[in-house]
Amino acid sequence: MTELPLSTERRLGLVIDLDTCVGCHACVVSCKGWNTENYGAPLSDQSAYSGAGSGTFLNRVHSYEVQPDNGAAQLVHFPKSCLHCQDAPCVTVCPTGASYKRAEDGIVLVNESACIGCGLCAWACPYGAREMDAAAKVMKKCTLCVDRIYNENLPEVDRVPACVRTCPAGARHFGDFADPDSAVSILSAERGGMDLMPEMGTRPTNKYLPPRPRDQLQETDILAPYLAPVTDEPKGFLGWLDRTLSALPKGPL
């Protein structure tokens, strides 16, 4: 049913730490691996070994350069997957009821056997979280590894989404945002967890932790400013060249 639940018992989601992510794409690979073999249709590739390969992924890592007014530019690696929004526009636009948000834990899922592959949900998502699989012709999206997190056949340590389990930097955290005492709630509160495109009114569940301010480049030696410069003006041949070129019309500028 494409009517959104008024509230969900739990709000399962991810905290993604932009300060810690090293941009290794391990989460992309583990996501593709797990979700190709498990929930729903496999994530297909087209012409994977040609120069123009293309495929379905539920998680992608962008990299951005942030240039502050003062100081050095900073590179921020930016993993992006479904944010399991509380006001998920992808769910309400679905004409068939294939897209739905679970009342018990807030996970947004696609019932692939009811999906007509119209693509309207992907149009409605501002984050590019949904991709139509070119082989199965149904919409694919992050399931928050719903087939891992409740899976009692797995050791307890593995009952988290594949991307979280694999992240070597510890940049991804999984938990329940409805519980104010959960690790993700505390982490998000302490580090200023933010929403992407809040103006879209989607109320995302997943939170992004902003990068911490970087150290400023300091003088290497506190006495350095007191040392006389080795040379002010070029001497000898270079000095003559400098004076001669400066004397020419149009120089020095």
């Binding site: 990299s63 004409p95 693509g119 309207l120 590019g128 992407l196």
Partner: protein
């Protein structure tokens, strides 16, 4: 957005078909017998043909009947209901004219109202999308309804109404282009809000997540051909509105000139509809440093 031929054909021809049904429902004209049959056959061919074209872009058209289930939230589902309701009511009304030479006026009025409601509901599929600021505006349903009214009047030979409506549609289109060109900037959504990093400095897409194209780029970041936008806009205005009005205004009007006006109008609408999709910027493009 990717200007898929199926969706361009769908919105163009079903718009014309439902526009024809609107005027036929009003009894303008109210032919009977064989003439009525030709009018209704053409209207149904356009409306139903457009709807069938729209199923071509579905991954699983065999499940299309499921699209009737979610009318409470989905404009696409409401469109399915509105179009079927219109076609049923107008079929009964048309049968009266064709087979019994009887015009059931009330049924026609209901059908006319349903026909325009269908066009409006179709346009809401686009206008509802916040993610495409150019479409997310009242002018989108207004424009598509005026297009349908003008095209329907032209196709049913309502010259008195077609001329002012065609002029109005052209003006509405120009105003929609002028305000639409600014709407992405006015929406306030930028790479800064998309990444949440705007407060720290100027954000620039440094490295994309994948080296090849993907579904998102193909479907929602269509930039090919935008450089021809201005020329296409002019072609759309001239063929879609100026030339048909000119042809209708000629003192020696006849069937052949009317046919030329209709064909010119259809070509013009196809051009503007191509632009409707090709020029629409989806905010997901921002994540890729594109628009």
């Amino acid at each position: 957005m990717h200007p898929a031929p199926s969706v361009i054909l769908f919105t163009t021809f079903s718009g014309l078909g439902f526009g024809m049904l609107f005027w036929l429902g009003l009894g303008m004209p109210a032919p009977t017998g064989l003439v009525a049959f030709v009018f209704f056959a053409l209207a149904y061919a356009l409306a139903v043909g457009g709807l069938i074209a729209s199923t071509f872009h579905l991954g699983h058209p065999e499940r299309a009947l499921r699209a009737f289930t979610q009318w409470r939230t989905s404009w696409l589902s409401r469109e399915a209901w509105a179009s079927v309701a219109t076609l049923m009511v107008m079929a009964a009304y048309g049968a009266g004219l064709v087979f019994a030479a009887t015009r059931i006026a009330a049924l026609g009025l209901i059908g006319a109202a349903l026909a325009m409601a269908t066009v409006a509901v179709t346009s809401m599929i686009y206008a509802q999308l916040r993610t495409v600021p150019r479409w997310h505006h009242w002018s989108t349903p207004a424009l598509l309804v005026i297009y349908s009214l003008a095209g329907g009047a032209l196709m049913t030979g309502q010259v008195r109404y077609a001329m002012p409506l065609l002029v109005l549609a052209g003006l509405a289109q120009v105003s929609a282009w002028m305000s639409g060109d600014k709407r992405l900037a006015e929406s306030g959504t930028t790479l800064a809000t998309a990444t949440g990093l705007g407060g720290r400095g100027a954000v620039r897409a440094f490295e994309p997540p994948h080296t090849g194209p993907n579904y998102l780029l193909r479907e929602m970041v269509h930039v090919v051909g935008r450089k021809h936008a201005n020329r296409l806009r002019l072609i759309g205005l001239v063929l879609g509105f100026a030339l048909p009005v000119l042809l209708l205004a000629l003192p020696f009007a006849g069937h052949w000139l009317a046919l030329a006006a209709v064909l010119s109008h259809i070509a013009g609408v196809l051009a503007t509809r191509w632009l409707f999709f090709a020029e629409a910027e989806h905010v997901v493009g921002l994540y890729y440093g594109k628009r």
